[in-house]
């Protein structure tokens, strides 16, 4: 277990290094942030002063070296635009994004698993066909278009739900959350559903395929021969076998939910990291972009770790550290 964690840690460090080099070189080649940041009316002297203050007059390898030294001390630099620590900017926006992504994740599981179970148990029923049509639509319609339609229907025509912002938030351990107030919840519903839609379709398909496969297995027949009631066969014998492979896929999808939140946040004006990073890319705000991407790598690593631990807990045949999947 310790060896497993150490290996994970070293992999993460390498990923962070490679990522930071790529971003540094990439942004350096795309253009000079100075041209975007400084107004055309600035005098050459002012211009030179700002360039020196940001350290942009140094050769790129030297800039990277300074960044690395500071990063090791926990300082990822100040945003060029906001002139505040980039990490603080990211962290202030992160709760909103995580809340959105986790809500979508839970919705995807709560809706996807029961529907997939039903469609797998009764593949020929009319209801199951309806479920599958829904999942095809969820897969193929673009998220942003569905988002706009949701706003049109539920906010504009029906006026049931607000279309933008986080609503009222409550601080829990210093972290603002929308989900705990009625107003916040009503703001969360539409964006979370919108973000979840694709994942619901995915969970439905995976669950359905797993259930159909498991129901044909000999152990189901043997359980029936033992006289085990059908409900217990489905909810214990079949569901457990179905959920194990699902854990891996779904866990990794949680990471992609955080990434895709960028689109949903833009549509619903949800004040998360997504909006921040889109703007940062527009003005080549290198410290902010770097901080965001490095945070994302760390987040993915943590999620992967949790997934692997869950997987090894659920599947008796897997022991951490022995498998080669890491």
């Amino acid at each position: 277990m310790t060896a497993f964690l150490l290996r994970r840690l070293s992999q993460t460090v390498i990923t962070l290094l490679v990522m930071s080099v790529l971003v540094f070189v990439g942004i350096y080649m795309v253009g000079n942030p100075i041209d975007i940041l400084i107004s055309a009316s600035a005098t050459p002297a002012e211009r030179q002063q700002i360039i020196t203050a940001m350290g942009l007059d140094l050769p790129v390898w030297q800039q990277y070296w300074i960044f690395l030294k500071n990063a090791l001390a926990g300082d990822l630099g100040n945003s060029f635009v906001y002139n505040q620590p980039a990490i603080r900017l990211i962290l202030s926006r992160m709760p909103a994004t995580l809340e959105l992504a986790f809500s979508a994740f839970v919705i995807a599981l709560l809706i996807g698993i029961p529907l997939g179970l039903y469609a797998g148990l009764k593949p020929r029923a009319v209801g199951s066909r309806g479920v599958m049509v829904f999942s095809i639509l969820g897969f193929s319609l673009p998220t942003f278009w569905i988002g706009l339609m949701m706003i049109l229907v539920f906010s504009v025509y029906l006026g049931w739900l607000p279309a933008s912002g986080r609503g009222q938030t409550v601080n829990v351990l210093g972290v603002p959350l929308s989900i705990l107030t009625l107003d916040g919840l009503s703001h969360l519903v539409l964006p979370a559903l919108n973000l979840a839609l694709f994942k619901i379709s995915l969970v439905i398909r995976l669950t359905r395929a797993g259930v159909i496969e498991c129901m044909q297995m000999d152990y189901v027949r043997f359980a029936r021969a033992k006289g085990v009631p059908e409900a217990r066969i489905v909810l214990l014998h079949v569901l457990k076998n179905t959920l194990i492979p699902l854990i891996t896929v779904i866990g990794l999808e949680l990471g992609s939910l955080i990434a895709f939140a960028v689109v949903t946040e833009t549509i619903f004006a949800w004040p998360g990291m997504g909006k921040l990073i889109i703007d940062a890319i527009g003005v080549l705000d290198r410290p902010l972009i770097l901080a965001y991407l490095l945070m994302t790598v760390v987040m993915f690593t943590i999620i992967n770790l949790i997934v692997d631990i869950c997987y090894s807990l659920a599947d008796p045949r897997v022991r951490l550290g022995e498998d080669s999947r890491s």
Binding site: M217, D218, Y219, R221, F222, A223, R224, A225, K226, G227, V228, P229, R232, L236, H237, K240, N241, I244, A314, D315, P316, R317
Partner: protein
């Protein structure tokens, strides 16, 4: 012994599968009688309908399969008329089944104790967990599993194939059923383990008075184990006899062919006898005696439907050109 005293009486069982080409009968007209504590063999080539017969008796035929005729009396109660609830109560309690592939019959993600205890508690909720556990431990000991107390906590993948099959047998015996249907449970195991399990199974059934239907394609297994044998060919029972009579003086040419193709039955160095041709496909069954295209004794009369005839006490065969006259 009067019919209603028999543990199991099957008459005129017909099971068919509804395929794209229309219904095909995998089991056409099967009659079986098993007395209390009797060990009966059901022998035939692959595809002769042995498993379908076993599953039909258990009420475990799934769509597109369907029992279309016949009666299945368990202790005088017709299972075909029983409600699904009643069937579930009987399965695993009064009638149990073991399957061919020990690697597939146990649920890979549930511990052995979970899978054993449920077999007791779904039939009798009043049994406490601790008492059920003790019964499971004793059952494992009876089938020759070392340190059963600890093994209860294990998962199936921690057992060898032979050990898994012993666990399955222990589960089938848990509630002291009146009859166990064993569908080739030793076919996937190596010969030494096979003979150990056969001897153990025979002893267990004799000690507890449990009747046994042993399904196999191997006449040598039947010779040592059973009291009486049914020979199946292409969905029909073609011969029924006490085991010594069957092996010494077979009546049906198919039985004769099966006996002649046992390797040890031939003088060393002689070419093995084999029955010419193959079992016909279900949708291409010949008219009349289904064996006639492969039979050395066939005449035109074999093209008519042939009924089961008596050849003295406890002997029946479906043949008009028998090797032994009744």
């Amino acid at each position: 012994m009067p019919e209603e005293m028999k543990t199991l009486v099957v008459t005129g069982l017909r099971t068919q599968f509804n395929t794209a080409k229309g219904p095909v009968a995998a089991v056409r007209d099967v009659n079986l009688k098993v007395a209390r504590g009797e060990i009966v063999g059901l022998v035939g080539e692959s595809g002769s309908g042995k498993s379908v017969t076993g599953l039909s008796i258990m009420g475990l035929i799934d769509a597109p399969g369907e029992i279309t005729a016949g009666a299945i009396l368990l202790n005088g109660e017709d299972l075909r008329k029983a409600s699904p609830k009643r069937l579930r109560e009987l399965r695993g309690d009064r009638i149990a089944m073991i399957f061919q592939d020990p690697m597939m019959t146990l649920n890979p993600v549930l511990r052995i104790d979970t899978q054993m205890i449920e077999a007791i508690r779904v039939h009798d909720h009043k049994v406490g967990r601790q008492e059920a556990r003790e019964r499971c431990r004793d059952a494992l000991g009876l089938v020759g599993i070392p340190s059963p107390e600890e093994r209860l906590e294990a998962y199936p993948h921690e057992f060898s194939g032979g050990m898994r099959q012993r666990v399955a047998i222990a589960i089938a015996m848990l509630n002291r059923p009146d009859i166990i249907i064993a569908d080739e449970p030793t076919t996937a195991l190596d010969v030494t383990i096979q003979s150990q399990i056969l001897a153990q199974m025979q002893k267990l059934c004799r000690d507890t008075g449990t009747a046994l239907i042993w399904i196999t394609h191997d006449l040598t297994v039947v010779a040592g184990l059973t009291d009486r044998v049914y020979v199946m060919y292409a969905g029909d029972v073609v011969e029924e006899a006490p085991v010594e009579d069957l092996l010494d003086r077979p009546i049906h040419p198919y039985t004769d062919g099966l006996i002649r193709s046992i390797p040890s039955h031939n003088a060393p160095g002689q070419p093995l006898n084999q029955i010419p041709g193959i079992t016909p496909a279900l949708d291409r069954m010949p008219a009349g005696c289904r064996f006639h295209p492969r039979c050395p004794r066939r005449t035109d009369a074999c093209l008519e439907e042939i009924a089961l005839r008596s050849f003295g006490p406890a002997r029946e065969a479906r043949c008009i050109h028998p090797l032994v006259e009744g």
